[in-house]
Symmetry: C2
Subunit: 450 residues, 2 copies
């Protein structure tokens, strides 16, 4: 191989961080191996649209091989890394194979955390992978089908109650989208039940949803959710989740909510791979990286994206968002080039450039916190959100298809991917067993820390 | 309910037969319950395009509820019928519920048959449902990934060998599409293996592929397959399928083909529901219906689509294709209206109008056997195939999306849905266990007769 003598850069994870790092190394005199457990890069900010039947999986996912096809210094490996052996400069795969590196970039991201309640996972799936999204889509659509089959009004009500746990961006998006499905998409599709009688609850443990946004936008977001028909409960801490519903601690006391469909949008935990590095981690399992994004004590190992806890000058952490991962990926690519050319990198620590944040709530409903204290909500914020997300969707074709799906959805209130696929057990209306939790959630890209 | 006094028509199955029957009853003074195990109607003629990563599941599937939304005399039930109790005019569900009917239309179709070798199912999945298609897609794409990971040339070769069993239309379409994936789509995506070195074998037990077509078209189809790089073997009877490959009886003797990916396109068996009717069935399990498509002895029970063995005047059976099911559905709707109005139906037996048949092989490659002895192949046949399939795709939106996908695929040779989703276990390159066959094929709409 002509690249054989060049330094070998191994990049773990084909998310935003890993991919942008790979691309930024296109002209570098290195050979790159990009390793991912999946064959596809996922545009995670739109994953909730797959979970809510608006987009197809392939609209937001592209094969990693196809993305880097024209970059000759990259080899892509679909494989499962279980350990980083920094002492011997190699990573170990689940099948016993090993891969040596000269430079390592760890960008394996994060998964859901159930805060020690892993038993909730089967009843309240989170949203990190395509499989998660299809599982949630199946449960939401199937709940309406089950409600239609039941004659008992209490059972119907439980099947028509949807609980979203966690008032962060994912929870807000999910709650808004479920409300739109019930109150618009399906409203004329059933004969016995009235989908507009569904209840969609958004439970947030702290006093505010979207806690990282300024107060005015938090309030606007809550207003827009209420307008969509979402029942927003703050200061509502979930203490128990089971097949039949959710128990919540609220200022007014404990309450049990009968619900057959629960979606988890609350906790995030770093990929367990971080622990195999043997360096200090923060409470969420992220690596406390140096200002140059190194794993402490490892000049040739970089950690980026959701797996890295990166302190800004202000003292705050860089948020776990796609633009941050992209910027970190590019920074690390330059750092590796500098190291290869034996230039010092320490004079130039990573700085995060905040381009603002956006959260969408529903049709013509969103909030945007942009640089220069520009704060938008409603239609304008939604247009900004649309524009930016289509712009960043990797792959020209996907952009066009997503635009068509959205235009169609906007014009008709319909959703393009209303399919219930995968195993659905049919339970009798009078049995005790819930239909929802059957199989454990499909394997995530990264398994949660045990 | 205003419809309460009207005769109750229960239609089992939301495929082409059931759906066209439902639609044809739109103005009839009946109330209809359309029952399907799935929430979606599937455009089965294009299912192989999902299996070969060209189309999204949602491109060829529509929620049944959405299709009949505007037909007020229809109620849709997502439920699993396990028995027809014709004596008491009712159908029984898996959960113990029952549903009474005045008229019953059974249109539950067919599934794969492994000719008594059900143990082949896990190693050689067939293609009937969306889940089947996603399973096959996963296996095909994953095989290339595994080949890239292996250093042993023999293992690489086994992973790069694809066997399609059965030279009917599905087998021909699958073989052609796999060849295009290997020789065009993926040809520049790997660094260690050369996907164009893949072998795609199409095995047919009889002397001819596409046996129902005239000789000239059979020959043209075989020529076009060979041009695509498919290794077509006729008179090749599969005697054994296991994780490591296929054993074939050929005129030259028995041969073992090392292959990690096998697709089953050979046998079809009728839905097992037919057996609960207690009427004579043919060898494939189909109901030997009367000229008015009744189950013999049951004036109020009709059987249509792939589940019915319908004799034509010529003595030949009506083929198991979508247009036949549609025509039968419409005929039965009229018969039910006649019965409701106490008119005789027996003066007017069902007649199948053959609009011709088409089979596609690949890009610009197809065959068409049209009325008036018009026989096309190559580009013209392919254009006819394209036109007819887009025309019949139910749902305006799907037509546009499919056209875009196809245009894009045509222009770039790329495929839009190259995602490996679902559980994929990573096996070591040197272990004996194959990565392909683990879990049994996802539940089919109808389970094969045991």
């Amino acid at each position: 191989m002509v690249n054989g003598d060049r330094p070998h850069v191994v990049i773990l994870g084909g998310g935003f961080g890993g991919l942008y790092c790979t691309r930024a190394l296109a002209d570098a005199q290195v050979r790159i191996t990009l390793v991912d457990k999946r064959n596809h890069h996922l545009f995670q900010p739109l994953l909730y649209q797959v979970a809510t039947a608006a987009l197809n999986p392939a609209d937001i996912a592209q094969p990693i091989r196809a993305i880097v096809r024209k970059q000759p210094n990259v080899e892509v490996l679909m494989a499962d890394v279980i350990k980083i052996d920094a002492d011997h400069r190699r990573v170990l795969f689940s099948d016993g194979d090993a891969l040596s590196y000269d430079y390592l970039v760890v960008a394996t991201g994060a998964t859901h955390s159930y805060f020690g309640h892993d038993e909730w996972q089967s009843v309240a799936p989170g949203l990190k992978t395509i499989e998660d999204a299809l599982e949630i889509r199946k449960r939401i659509l199937f709940a309406f089908e089950e409600a239609e089959r039941h004659h008992d009004p209490l059972a119907q009500r439980a099947w028509l109650t949807f609980v979203v746990v966690g008032g962060g961006p994912t929870g807000v998006e999910m709650a808004g989208a479920i409300a739109e499905i019930a109150f618009q998409t399906l409203k004329r599709d059933f004969r016995r039940i009235d989908p507009t009688q569904a209840r969609v609850l958004l439970l947030e443990g702290t006093p505010h949803i979207l806690g990282t946004y300024p107060e005015i936008l938090r309030r606007k977001a809550a207003e827009q959710l209420v307008k969509l028909g979402v029942d927003v409960r703050t200061d509502a801490r979930v203490t128990h989740i089971a097949e039949r519903g959710v128990t919540v601690d609220m200022p007014t006391g404990a309450q049990h909510i009968e619900a057959r469909t629960v979606v988890w949008g609350a906790g995030v935990a770093a990929s367990p791979l971080a622990r195999t590095l043997g360096v200090p981690l923060d409470r969420a399992g992220r690596v406390l990286v140096t200002p140059t994004l190194n794993a402490p004590g490892h000049e040739r190992v970089f950690v980026i994206g959701d797996l890295a806890a990166v302190k800004q000058k202000s003292g705050a952490l860089v948020p776990g968002v796609a633009p941050a991962a992209m910027q970190e990926g590019k920074y690390v690519a330059q750092a590796i080039v500098d190291l290869v050319h034996e230039k010092p990198i320490f004079g130039h620590p990573f700085e995060y450039f905040d381009k603002g944040s956006l959260a969408t709530i529903g049709r013509k409903k969103a909030i945007a916190d942009l640089p220069g204290h520009i704060r938008l909500w409603g239609f304008l914020a939604w247009m900004a959100w649309l524009f930016i997300h289509v712009l960043f969707l990797i792959g020209f074709r996907n952009r066009i298809l997503v635009l068509i799906e959205w235009t169609w959805a906007y014009a008709t209130w319909q959703r393009g991917s209303r399919l219930i696929t995968g195993t659905v057990a049919h339970e009798g209306p009078h049995t005790e067993v819930s239909t929802a939790p059957r199989a454990p959630v499909s394997s995530s890209a990264i398994s949660p820390p045990s």
